[in-house]
Symmetry: C2
Subunit: 353 residues, 2 copies
């Protein structure tokens, strides 16, 4: 096994010392990059781009050609998994993703099966393999999945909506049905992430985008419990290398202690949480990933520099911090702002290591 030339991300995820704070950005390959939009136009659609390993590899690598990022993340979408379950994914301009056959009937729910990643998500695994090869061990590759609950939100609602009334009605009225979906999702997420690891992903992240819309008791029962179970089923090592895991619940700031006890190596935090406070709460157990407000990237180089400095200062000295935004890069971000951010984090963080 060749060693990673830049292993700062892996080391920071495991709270090992690094010479500076590594940085990558959620949605770092995306619409704010003109070269991404060009590739997407060639693909014809977002979904066609996801399903074409050559083009998905191309867009995965685009931000690394521009910026000195410390990791790549495979270009994909969390809804590829429900699509592989037969729910029929499509993207419409302006409306976001839709599943054509959302789960409403008990019969459909009982018929749900765990997809075989090698068969139904082969295009993602092919992308992982191609990206790994193209990266030539310069920086690590992150694989990812939606959390069981977040996937269930889309699978029951059929798309994103602000009140989640179908999935919540099921939660409060027919919890056993939602638990059944979550059990299937949990096994599917585990198999999917393990397949990404076997194909070359060197760290994995679970995105719990909608867990923060739950009450405390419901979050534990319907979201965190299944993420914990998925984590238990993950390969912790592959070919002699430790595979760190990251768990990110957007809006989960109130539950950091419980999230840190889930078995993950690193907890992602959104920008509403003070990262210094988060570190004092859970920093002895796990590393932290985050947490600049993505809107700072819209406000010019001085604001970006100050924002980076503030997050680094709030975390303070020592190991266990992966710099990131608190949410994905906005499509309105000037690429130059990302360059300023990456350089500022690399420069300013040396004083803390």
């Amino acid at each position: 096994m060749p060693k990673l030339k830049n292993d700062t991300l892996i080391r920071a995820l495991l709270r090992q010392p690094t010479p500076y704070t590594p940085i990558w950005l959620m949605r770092q390959a995306g619409r704010y990059l003109p070269e991404y939009n060009a590739t997407r136009a060639r693909a014809g659609s977002f979904l066609a781009l996801c399903k074409n390993p050559d083009l998905a590899t191309e867009v995965t690598l685009q931000p690394l050609a521009r910026f000195a990022l410390d990791a790549a993340i495979v270009f994909s979408d969390i809804l590829t998994l429900p699509d592989a379950m037969g729910l029929g994914l499509r993207f419409t301009e302006g409306e976001g993703p839709r599943l054509e056959r959302p789960l409403r009937e008990e019969r459909e729910i009982r018929n749900l099966v765990v997809p075989d990643p090698d068969q139904h998500l082969r295009y993602v695994l092919d992308t992982v393999r191609q990206v790994r090869k193209a990266l030539a061990d310069e920086v690590p590759l992150i694989g990812f999945s939606g959390s069981p609950f977040t996937l269930a939100c889309y699978m029951v609602e059929g798309g994103a909506n602000s009140d989640f009334r179908n999935v919540k009605t099921m939660l409060y009225n027919r919890p056993e049905l939602l638990h059944h979906i979550l059990e299937v999702n949990c096994r599917a997420v585990t198999a999917y992430l393990n397949a990404q690891i076997e194909s070359g992903a060197q760290a994995v992240m679970m995105f719990d985008t909608w867990g923060g819309t739950l009450g405390t008791a419901e979050y534990r029962e319907f979201s965190l419990a299944y993420m914990r179970r998925a984590l238990e089923g993950l390969k912790r090592e592959h070919r002699g290398e430790r595979i760190p895991s990251i768990l990110f619940t957007k809006g989960g700031g109130a539950w950091l202690e419980a999230i840190a006890a889930s078995g993950c190596d690193t907890v992602g935090i959104d920008w509403t949480v003070d990262i210094g406070t988060a570190r004092s709460r859970i920093g002895v157990r796990v590393a932290l990933q985050g947490n600049l407000d993505p809107a700072v990237l819209l406000a010019g180089p001085k604001a970006v520099h100050n924002g980076a400095a503030a997050v680094l200062a709030a975390f303070g000295h020592g190991a266990g911090h992966v710099f990131n935004l608190g949410h994905g890069v906005s499509q309105f971000t000037p690429p130059e702002s990302v360059a300023v951010l990456v350089d500022a984090v690399h420069d300013l963080s040396r004083a803390y290591h």
Copy 2:
């Protein structure tokens, strides 16, 4: 001054003993009620309804005719204040509210003036007076306003959008401009709430719907500081009666201690916070209002009963709890569920008092 026949709300807001836990619901007069939809149809539009004191009084009273609620809240919208500032409010079906002249230019921002409630918001004050008269001191009437920051979000964005990129760009790039808007808004909110109190509102609430989208430091500087200042300017008494104040920041669960120190009498909490934990954090300083997930009302009578029981049990014994949802009533709520909720809260809460 005639005494209120049912003063449980006022007493609970001030942490005084009551025989049971009072309940009212955010957006209790709204689209889930067929009689509301009928009145709105007669008015022609939502905005026409807000601006017609006779019809606004009618819809304010509608939920009290159906349910044994312990308070009325004046039917209005938080955007009436930016409308009174000349920003041009209109509502479009399916899209939500829009301000026709959002604040983008420094000149427009510098020209912003505090509207005189007696002149520009007279229709709200007339509604307050008419509702007070119609209530005949049966239950108290709550007046309300958006928070300075939440109003600024709409005033800069021109409408609701999920990333708040204009107002956040201003916050990070031209903070002095946002501070200017917030100073004007703060004086406007104070004048508006005091005018409602003078017209008959017996408690007042500030809705900080978007403060929870800020980071911790930004929340304190751009939202909480101005709510505190607005609270300082509020009449605490009117005609010998104490006027309690409620402050509600949606998504503010991480900042409860700071919110409780703002000078308000009661802190509203959303459903993501455990109300027992919230009470142990701030319950010696303020009363708490909340916090059932509005989605529980979609899930049938058993779920509603269980949900009410769980919130009451989590708060526990003693004074200082006003039952409410953690957010407004969904338009998809069956009115019967509200009846079940109100009765369950009244019945079950007696054991805790």
